[in-house]
Amino acid sequence: MSILKRTGYFVGLPLLLVIAWWALTLGPTNFYVPTPQKLAETFWKVWTGERFFTDFLPSIARLLIGLVVTIVLGIVLGVLIGSYRWLRSLTEPVLEFFRAIPPPVLVPLFMLIIGANDQMRIVVIVSGAIWPVLLNTVEGVRAVDQVLTNTSRTYRIDGFARLRYLVLPAATPQIMTGIRQSLSIGLILMVISEMFGGSSGLGFTIVLFQRGFAIPEMWSGIVVLGLIGIALSLISKAIERRVLRWYHGLKEVQRDS
């Protein structure tokens, strides 16, 4: 496909949609939907000013800290539970129950116990985002190839070395799947924790705008959230491509054979 055609497909529909949006808002000022120019102006004004430091960065920081804790805790617990069958059987029903609880429900709970502060928000993020990581890690650890495991045993690769050379690399594709899911859950929980009982942050700000009927500002906030979601998706795809290069190669060969 030529570059021109590919660019056409790339921007075609989005461009059409933006044009339609502009056309629809051409008349007198619509209360609910700002014009594209107004939105762009407002976006710039709101988010490159003071709010960048008082709301945007703190939110991102909470999200990142929450995700890091989620991933580390999820993998550690997942490896532990996945490595011992009795532990898995013991904890499985209880974990299944906790995982079935819709994570947002825990926001009031943690607010009660911890208070309306940053620790609460991070705990909320972890409490919801950890499940895909944990469960996928357990599955990945459990499903390590038997022949590979036997090979490792015959060469006496045990203990920590076994974890490092066999278990973790083998489980990585599955773990990455879990991490990918946990990113979007983490973002959602960050926003909810700020919307529900917040005093700063993206979620709080957007609700503030909406309550004060500052509509273009509200939309600009929505756009910011959208951009963060997209950024997370792109970053995770990039990381996956690098870390799982061997896996993609392997799958391609298996597909062709």
Partner: protein, 280 residues
């Protein structure tokens, strides 16, 4: 002869517990392997060959009987033993290059880098794969992958090399090359080799001795010394009269073994339980 045999298996017995009772896979296996010997083990399908190998390798605990490696009993995978499995695709680490794969057991043992590099280089040369160190296993053909597994075992410098039907999943052309490769390595290194196969011709071509197993519950059916010349050639040796005689002998024994119905429930020990379904 009073020298201790490298491997001494006495009255090996393995009984599996299954849902509705027991399966006696191996009833009584007794044989010795001298230091530096290359012996082949043949038997009909389901004859407990893999069970035997796993017990010797320390991966399975026998129900009764003893396995001694250079005089000491085998409890868990012994340090001086290396195993080459049939499923080469699954025994190499797909996230590591060829070189990293061969190097891993040495790295794990704490062998210093300079020595490691020499051992790995020599091993890769011995299997004629010195030109693909940076490739990944899945980029290589089946035969080449098995060579990597063999290089890994060779670099490890084991006293005993166990091979579980290593060439069964490889095409005939490659198999011939690999057979000669094994004999070369054996001559060069003087390592003791236990070679399990279902291919009768291969067992006679390769071994100094061929041990024939009965059907399950398995015992040693026959033990034949191969008095072919030490230097063997795919074309000449295989078309010699003595080869044909030895081969017939083994063939007859295996036919006898197959004919005697296995007592008790017959299940191929290689059947694995289906993996549990994945969940999201």
């Amino acid at each position: 002869m009073t020298t201790t045999p490298m491997l001494s298996i006495k009255k090996l017995k393995k009984v599996y517990q299954v849902a509705d009772g027991e399966i006696e896979a191996v009833r009584d296996l007794t044989f010795d392997v001298a230091d530096g010997e290359l012996i082949c083990i043949v038997g009909p399908s389901g004859a407990g060959k893999t069970t035997l190998l796993k017990c010797i390798a320390g991966l399975l605990t026998p129900t009764s009987g003893t396995i001694d490696l250079a005089g000491s009993p085998v409890v868990g995978p012994p340090k001086a033993m290396a195993v080459v499995f049939q499923e080469y695709g699954r025994s190499l680490f797909p996230w590591m290059t060829v070189r990293a794969n061969v190097e891993l057991p040495l790295k794990n043992q704490g062998v210093p880098k300079a020595e490691r590099d020499t051992l790995v280089d020599n091993a890769l040369e011995a299997v004629e794969l010195e030109h693909v160190p940076k490739s990944y296993p899945w980029q290589l053909s089946g035969g080449m992958q098995q060579r990597v597994a063999i290089a890994r075992a060779v670099a490890y410098r084991p006293k005993v090399l166990l091979m579980d039907e290593p060439f069964a999943a490889v095409d005939a052309q490659t198999r011939a090359d690999l057979e000669d490769l094994i004999r070369n390595i054996w001559h060069k290194l003087g390592v003791t080799i236990l070679f399990i196969t279902h291919d009768i011709d291969e067992s006679v071509y390769l071994g100094q001795r061929v041990i024939m197993l009965s059907n399950s519950p398995t015992v040693v059916q026959d033990d034949l010394t191969i008095d072919l010349p030490d230097v063997r050639d795919q074309l000449e040796t295989r078309s010699s009269k003595r080869f044909a005689e030895l081969r017939s002998h083994v063939y007859e024994q295996i036919q006898l073994a197959k004919a005697s119905k296995p007592t008790g429930a017959v299940i191929a020990q290689k059947t694995r339980r289906p993996a549990k379904a994945r969940r999201s």
